[in-house]
């Protein structure tokens, strides 16, 4: 009998120990590396990542090693240096890095987080962040459809990466949902013309000239040129040309008060998620920046937007979150052109 009690006790202890062990938390990483293709002050994709990670760093108390303006070429030296300098997690914030960084992760065993790279996600080693900005852009499209007076809306992009194709398509879908008779213009400034502000201004002015009075601009640095064009040009009816921005918040420089709204990216949400997975030992997941986890949200619309329209946008948001309305996920430029051509025949 005694033996049985002993063995039972041992069993219970062992179980306790095991559960305790499983629940034991790993510490948050002390140093996290962040690789950016462009300068961390580009008022766009790169800056938002830097700002987001800084926010997360404050929360979890780790140090950031920032490697910026790396270009899209060979970042192996930088990755290896970050490994050497004891980064426990490296976030490579460009889809262009998605072949090199998993290779370095497998070679060195250091955790990496890639972007738009679903297939390499590996338990304990590689996690990935993809962006689902569609719902945000869909809401912006509703806003645009309601605010346009001329029924002509324009999209200006400085390149055609997946994130922007997704937003352009969803914007078009949102626009069509409330304003099926609207006309949609679409202009590309150039190949990787993220900094071509003069080109941004030129394309926006052309769209305004043919009657557009709401412009949805995706451009990083080029967005400043678009904002300027909307600020100084009058729409055909003599009224304002509204500008819908992405990623950053430009309210501080919007002196002409033409900023209708902005689709903001808050990467700290997914970075928090990732650090949590490091802590609970489940690192190696597919993470999404999306409207449902509030990593993507619409900046409070301009005060000129009526309560009625705001309510309509809110209603649409609930429908999106409940799954009642689905946003299409169009990733490639070719599919986007096809979709725009079909939905808005010229």
């Amino acid at each position: 009998m005694k033996k049985k009690i002993y063995s039972l006790m041992i069993c219970v202890l062992a179980v306790c120990f095991l559960t305790f062990n499983a629940m034991a938390q790993n510490p948050a990483p002390k140093i996290v590396g962040l690789c950016l293709p462009e300068a961390g002050t580009d008022k766009g994709w790169n800056e938002q990542a830097k700002v987001g990670l800084e926010k997360t760093a404050k929360k979890y108390g780790f140090k950031i090693m920032l490697a910026e303006a790396l270009g899209y070429g060979d970042i192996k030296p930088t990755l290896r240096d970050l490994v050497k300098k004891k980064c426990e997690l490296i976030i490579t914030h460009a889809s262009g890095y998605q072949t090199v960084s998993p290779e370095v992760a497998r070679e060195t065993g250091v955790k990496v987080t890639t972007v738009e790279n679903h297939k390499d996600v590996t338990q304990g080693l590689i996690s990935d962040i993809d962006t689902a900005p569609g719902p945000g852009a869909y809401l912006a499209g509703i806003l645009a459809g309601r605010m346009t007076r001329s029924n002509i809306v324009g999209i200006v992009v400085s390149a055609e990466p997946p994130t922007w194709n997704r937003m352009s398509a969803a914007f078009a879908q949102g626009l069509k949902s409330v304003n099926p008779n609207a006309k949609l213009l679409y202009s590309v400034i150039g190949e990787d013309a993220y900094a071509d502000a003069a080109g941004g201004k030129r394309n926006t002015e052309d769209q305004i000239a043919v009657g557009a009075d709401v412009i949805f601009g995706q451009g990083d640095g080029a967005s400043f040129g678009m904002l300027q064009a909307c600020s100084i040009k009058k729409a055909r009816d003599g009224g304002k040309v509204w500008f819908i921005d992405v990623i950053g918040d430009k309210r501080s420089i919007d002196r002409a008060d033409v900023l209708l709204s902005s689709i903001l990216f808050d990467f700290s949400v997914v970075y928090d998620e990732i650090i949590e997975t490091v802590i609970d030992g489940t690192f190696g997941k597919q993470h999404w920046s999306s409207v449902s986890n509030k990593a993507i949200y619409l900046l409070n619309p301009n005060k000129a937007v009526s309560e009625k329209i705001k309510k309509e946008v809110d209603a649409a948001r609930s429908k999106l979150l409940s799954g009642e309305v689905k946003v299409m996920d169009i990733v490639t430029a070719a599919d986007l052109h096809k979709y725009l051509g079909e939905s808005f025949p010229k």
Partner: protein, 343 residues
């Protein structure tokens, strides 16, 4: 004997002097932004030249520079301004990235690498064909055409990679990934890929051909005096066409090897712009293939080590390029001082 020693030592001494003077000017800028230049430079050498990581990565970075420089050497030796290396590089790279995964199942490894090298070379040559023909036949300015062809290439490859050759199973615009088994092999016992050896062979080989063979002699005559070249009965047009084609070919080869060794695929938005680095290097080397090697080592070291330390020291990474520009200027000046002494 003393004279010979002096001749050999003078360029080295001048280079060191140039490096120091560029560091001094850069140091003033560092002081101006409130950073300690001695720590930064000390770390630069420690991490860039004193650590295995720095040395290895620097050497890896040299491979494309050597190949592109070899191409430039051919063109510049003949007085032909091939400023289109970026476009030629991209064409070589995209053809390799597109075709390599298709060839994987069919070819044995050696044949596969040779075929892809040939494809990359051909890609660069195709992109140099129009400027070459227009130059040879109508004597149209190759500076204009090669520069414009860079932009056309960028548009073309972006269109291709966003559309027809896009691997639709992944999110970004890129070609299919080349399996690890079919990447560029490494030099035994290192993680430096064979591209370095190819680059060294190419640059020395090209230099040898230009200096030691009839063909090379003809290219050089073309540079010195075109009219004389025609009078001596040389087929000037053919030399122009082949020099520019070869020049483009080596840039294309650099693209192929970068895809096979570094990237593993071709990606939209990837444009490493080796031309702007290599063009001044080739002139600094005074069209001497041997001199290109230490120069490209040094500038690779600057970029690799500079990025490491700028990050450590909290200096904006742009400072690396400030230093690079200063180095170019001071190397040019050092050459002048050397010229003044020897002659």
């Amino acid at each position: 004997m003393k004279q010979i020693l002096y001749d050999k030592a003078a360029p080295a001494a001048n280079s060191i002097l140039s490096v120091i003077s560029a560091f001094v000017v850069g140091g003033v800028i560092l002081l101006f932004i409130g950073k300690n230049p001695f720590t930064l430079y000390g770390q630069l050498f420690l991490q860039g030249m004193g650590s295995s990581l720095g040395v290895i990565e620097t050497i890896i970075k040299m491979a494309p520079l050597l190949m592109v420089s070899a191409g430039l050497l051919v063109a510049f030796s003949g007085g032909l301004w091939n400023l289109g290396v970026e476009g030629q590089f991209l064409m070589g790279a995209i053809l390799t990235g597109w075709l390599a995964p298709k060839l994987v199942p069919f070819l044995s490894l050696p044949v596969y690498f040779i075929t892809l090298g040939g494809i990359g070379f051909a890609g660069g040559m195709i992109w140099a064909l129009l400027p070459a023909i227009l130059k040879a036949r109508y004597n149209l300015n190759e500076i204009i055409i090669t520069l414009m062809m860079n932009y056309v290439a960028l548009n073309l490859v972006t269109w291709m990679v966003k559309g027809p050759i896009n691997d639709l199973s992944v999110v970004p615009a890129q070609t299919k990934l080349i399996p690890m088994t079919h990447r560029m092999p490494m030099i035994p016992f290192t993680r430096i890929h064979l591209g370095l050896i190819i680059g060294l062979i190419v640059i020395i080989g090209v230099y040898w051909i230009i200096r030691r063979t009839t063909m090379g002699y003809q290219i050089r005559v073309l540079f010195a005096n075109k009219r004389a070249a025609i009078h001596t009965g040389m087929n000037v047009k053919r030399i122009i066409v082949w020099s520019l084609l070869t020049s483009g070919g080596f840039s294309g080869l650099a693209g192929a090897i970068d895809v096979l060794a570094i990237k593993g695929l071709f990606q939209g938005g990837w444009n490493p712009m080796y031309g702007i680095t290599c063009i001044p290097l080739v002139f600094l080397a005074r069209l001497n293939g041997w001199a290109v090697i230490p120069l490209s080592y040094f500038f690779s070291f600057l970029v690799v080590g500079g990025e490491f330390v700028a990050r450590d020291q909290g200096v904006p990474v742009f400072f690396v390029h400030v230093l690079e520009g200063l180095m170019l200027l001071s190397f040019a000046a050092g050459e002048h001082i050397g010229k003044g002494r020897v002659t």
